[in-house]
């Protein structure tokens, strides 16, 4: 237990409490103003951040070369991890962004009592990260049904695939059934819990963790948890919610008429989502944008073949050959090394100056 973790948890609880108390009382504030403000902060914040990065120069080509370079034709180049073409870079970046390739290399060190080290492939973080991000993406896409009318077929298709798993008990005595269970939601909650637990339980990771590492995890955990609650356990007025979301995207919400009957749970869900959006550009979550601009990954490793230009390259003071020879001329001649100027010439010239 540490204060970073507790303070983050507390912050999320306080947010939930505010929404629980305030949502139903001030629906226009929590249902309309807040989402708009959050989206504006998100969009403007992300654009500003990315523009800020892009404004900075890329003075040197510094790709991390993770495989054999291109050299002679009979040597097999690793065209993805040491890409000498733009296409290679594209593939490298695509694999990095879509499959977290670098994380797939992860090893874990082990030291035996005799002092022998081994480095074994360790893929839990990679699996956890992939599960988390793709479940998040699927959940996000699924939620488009709240912002589109009629709901496009592709989204319905995704929902169908996502909810292929059904849970029903239909004995005479008990009749119990859940609506189609979205795998993405369950996986999201499980993965985010895993990411939290590894942060808490692996001592090295706990040591490097800051409040800002726990906070988004709790936010997302809260979002997934309230989402699951609303879908499977406490029924919310789904039609009213869709009225609200549709009026938000069509800007009819500016009339500030929030449909009646939206429960507090929804407002908790919503405030956590809004907080996540608003917090995003100011946090490490910007790794989503940053990965595209990482010079060790997105640059071509043909650095001896094509000259990279540094926009702020400036002339520097160098020790010229002339100055060098002036200092060591006598010794050079004595050692039989060739010189540009013989002593009499150079002294004559020095006198001229």
């Amino acid at each position: 237990m540490n204060k970073f973790y507790l303070s983050s948890l507390l912050a999320v609880f306080v947010l939930a409490l505010i929404a629980w108390a305030g949502g139903p009382a001030l629906p226009w504030l929590f249902g309309i103003v807040l989402p708009y403000a959050a989206v504006i902060l998100f969009v403007v914040g992300v654009i500003r951040k990315v523009m800020g990065w892009s404004r900075s120069a890329v003075p040197f080509a510094i790709p991390t070369t993770g495989g054999q370079q291109r050299s002679m034709p009979w040597i097999n180049q690793n065209k993805i991890d040491n890409p000498s073409t733009k296409f290679g870079v594209f593939i490298r970046m695509a694999l990095e962004i879509l499959t977290f390739r670098s994380l797939f290399r992860n090893t874990r060190i082990k030291m035996t009592e005799e002092g022998r080290f081994s480095y074994n492939l360790e893929l839990f973080l990679w699996i956890g990260a992939l599960a988390f991000h793709y479940a998040f993406l699927a959940t996000l896409v699924r939620h488009l049904r709240f912002f589109l009318e009629p709901v496009p077929l592709c989204i319905k298709a995704i929902e169908t695939i996502d909810s292929f798993f059904r849970f029903e008990i239909s004995y005479d005595a008990i009749q119990f059934g859940l609506p189609g269970v979205y795998i993405s939601g369950i996986v999201l909650f499980a993965a985010v819990s895993y990411l939290f637990l590894r942060r808490l339980l692996i001592s090295k990771v706990r040591y490097i963790s800051l409040a800002q590492d726990y906070f988004p995890l709790f936010l997302i955990m809260g979002i997934a948890f309230t989402g699951i609650l609303m879908r499977y356990f406490t029924k919310v007025e789904i039609a009213a919610i869709k009225d609200l979301t549709m009026s938000l995207v069509t800007f009819k919400a500016l009339a500030f008429n929030v449909p009646q009957g939206i429960g507090p749970l929804f407002y908790i869900h919503l405030i956590l989502v809004c907080t996540l959006l608003a917090y995003f550009p100011f946090s490490k979550l910007m790794h989503m944008g940053g990965i595209f601009l990482s010079p060790t990954r997105n640059m071509t490793a043909n650095t001896r073949e094509v000259r990279h230009v540094n926009p702020w390259n400036y002339p520097v003071k160098v020790h010229t050959y002339e100055a060098y020879e002036n200092e060591f001329r006598e010794k050079m001649i004595e050692a039989g090394l060739p010189v540009d100027k013989m002593p009499d010439e150079s002294t004559a010239e020095e006198e001229k100056e």
Binding site: W53, S56, A57, V58, P59, F60, A61, I62, P63, T64, T65, G67, Q69, R70, S71, W74, I75, N76, N82, E96, F100, L103, R105, N106, T107, G115, F117, Y119, N120, K204, V205, Y207, I208, L210, A211, Q212, D213, F282, S283, G290, I291, S294, P295, T296, R297, T303, R304, V306, R307, H308, V316, K317, V318, Y321, Y324, F328, M332, G336, L337, P338
Partner: protein
């Protein structure tokens, strides 16, 4: 080796990967003997015209900083955020997933959590958040921010010189965050305050003045090469006449001066001389050495980008003055990082040189078309592939070899197969170390980036542990007794590390092996290798 350096068994048993209970910002830095290098000699700092030259001592309370040191750092930071997108992005996007944590040789060898690459970067990020981000300004420590204080500065200094810029962590980082980049940036900042270490500052000043890190003046440089010529004559019966500063030669050859100065690099240097002599006699290739550009290495790159450029400039200046066609580079690690990723940008375009073509094989080195500098391993591999060298690999039969990929040619270039191809063609017994410790996953020798001093022996041995451990594995499994490498710092650092961890293993350069196997025109029957050790089957003759 200093007497205070713990024994290998002590060093091993001192490693504890459990971090302290206190949050890292509350654990003050302890600048410990054996783990740091001496402060820069003010004369060296002054010679280069770098700011705040003065005598100071890292273990003193008072570092004699300029009055406005915080402002200097803040403005230096700000300026570099605009100049380096890498820094700006790397400051913002780390998620502290911990994938890099156990990838650093210094962390593996010391267990010090601030040697986890992520935390080394957080030392700087914490100040970045405080000075440049809204969250840091609003929430302070809860946003992971802290103001710059003298203790923070000391922590920066201590840990920026416990990184060898090997880039191993950057390979595993899902965002490609490169600690080498962060360390280079951090060192550049503290150099604004004159806080360099002497093992870097003095070689840099030497290199600036005499052309090489060791401060060897031109006549002495020639003398040293002449000694090698005598030694070679004794072993092979062939007298060679190397060119110095020769105008109109085909190729300018530049290699680290360490090879001219200290064993076992000297044998590699003899190897170069023999290879060039062979090529001259057989094919008429004219290679020249330069006393002015007599350093391949660039300790400027461990100081700042500007000093890197100032030292590197000599290569192109000399190539232009001598009117050569292109440049051939010797075996060196960080030298090749600089050549491969910085030289052309900094001091190019080298339009006065030709696209490198090996006149003997006709191979055009397309991959060096713009920079016009070829690595000796590429060059030699090409010669061997075309059958242009007369080789007797059996002369190396008493050497059971493995190959250490130096960090920079590995992760700043990607040269893996060329040196292996050469070694396997000049020697018969070769075994690679385990896959997770070689090629792009290779471990640093532990003494790179200017840390191969004498006073920080514990740091070096701890940093060298993962590499040595993998060598030990192949030593026990295959009887490996010789560790080959293509880096002069390796040749200076690994013998010490081997003597400490795996005493049965010696260190050699690639070209030394080539020269042992190379049959020179008109040579006598050799009885020893370049080290004066009897060749296989010649043990009797030696006595």
């Amino acid at each position: 080796m200093a007497d205070e350096t713990p024994k290998p068994s002590e060093l091993l048993s001192n490693i504890d990967y459990r971090p302290p209970a206190k949050q890292w910002m509350d654990v003050p830095v302890n600048i410990r003997k054996g783990m740091y290098c001496y402060a820069a000699n003010p004369k060296s700092v002054e010679y280069l015209g770098l700011p705040n030259a003065r005598a100071w001592n890292p273990t003193d309370e008072d570092w004699k900083l300029p009055e406005n040191w915080q402002q200097i750092l803040h403005e230096g930071f700000k300026e570099r955020l605009e100049k380096f997108r890498s820094i700006k992005v790397f400051m913002d996007i780390c998620v502290r997933c911990g994938a890099c944590a156990d990838k650093c040789h210094f962390f593996i060898g010391t267990g010090d959590p601030k040697n986890m690459p992520v935390l080394r970067a957080e030392l700087l990020r914490s100040v970045y958040r405080n000075d440049f981000t809204l969250m840091g300004k609003l929430l302070g420590r809860f946003a992971g921010a802290r103001p710059m204080t003298i203790d923070v500065l000391k922590e920066w200094w201590y840990y920026l010189f416990q990184c060898t810029e090997c880039r191993r962590c950057s390979l595993y980082c899902p965002y490609g965050i490169d600690t080498a980049e962060i360390t280079m940036f951090g060192r550049e900042l503290i150099n604004l305050l004159g806080l360099n270490i002497d093992w870097i500052a003095t070689p840099v000043a030497n290199c600036y003045r005499t052309g090489n890190h060791l401060g060897i003046q031109p006549h002495a440089f020639k003398d040293m090469i002449d000694f090698f010529v005598d030694d070679i004559e004794e072993i092979t019966g062939v007298r060679m006449e190397p060119n110095f500063n020769k105008k109109g030669a085909d190729i300018l050859f530049i290699t680290p001066s360490g090879d001219v100065f200290a064993d076992p690099g000297t044998y590699t240097c003899m190897g170069y001389l023999m290879l060039f002599h062979f090529l001259k006699e057989k094919y008429g290739l004219d290679v020249t050495w330069s006393t002015y550009a007599s350093e391949g290495g660039n300790f400027g790159s461990f100081t700042s980008h500007e000093v890197m450029k100032r030292l590197n400039a000599k290569m192109y200046l000399e190539a232009r003055r001598l009117g050569v066609k292109w440049i051939l580079g010797g075996e060196c690690g960080h030298m090749w990082r600089v050549i491969n990723q910085y030289m052309d940008t900094m001091n190019g375009p080298a339009d006065f040189l030709e696209v490198p073509v090996n006149p003997i094989t006709g191979t055009r080195f397309e991959n060096a078309a713009s920079t016009k500098m070829v690595h000796i391993a590429e060059f030699t591999a090409d010669l061997i592939k075309h059958g242009k060298l007369d080789l007797k690999p059996e002369r190396n039969d008493n050497k059971i070899l493995t190959f250490h990929d130096s960090c920079n040619p590995a992760r700043g270039m990607g040269m893996f197969d060329e040196p292996r191809y050469v070694i396997q063609n000049v020697a018969n017994h070769f075994y690679d170390m385990p896959a997770n410790t070689i090629r792009e996953q290779t471990f640093c020798c532990g003494s790179g980036s200017g840390l191969n001093a004498g006073e920080n022996m514990e740091e070096r041995m701890a940093g060298g542990l993962p590499r040595a451990n993998a060598v030990k594995y192949v030593h026990e499994k295959h009887g490996v007794n010789m560790l080959a490498c293509v880096c002069a710092i390796d040749r200076a650092a690994l013998p010490t590390s081997m003597a400490y961890w795996v005493p049965e293993v010696q260190v050699t350069g690639m070209t030394e092996l080539v020269a042992n196997a190379l049959v020179l025109p008109g040579e006598q029957e050799r009885t020893t290798d370049l080290r004066g050790e009897p060749l296989p089957g010649m043990e009797e003759a030696d006595e």
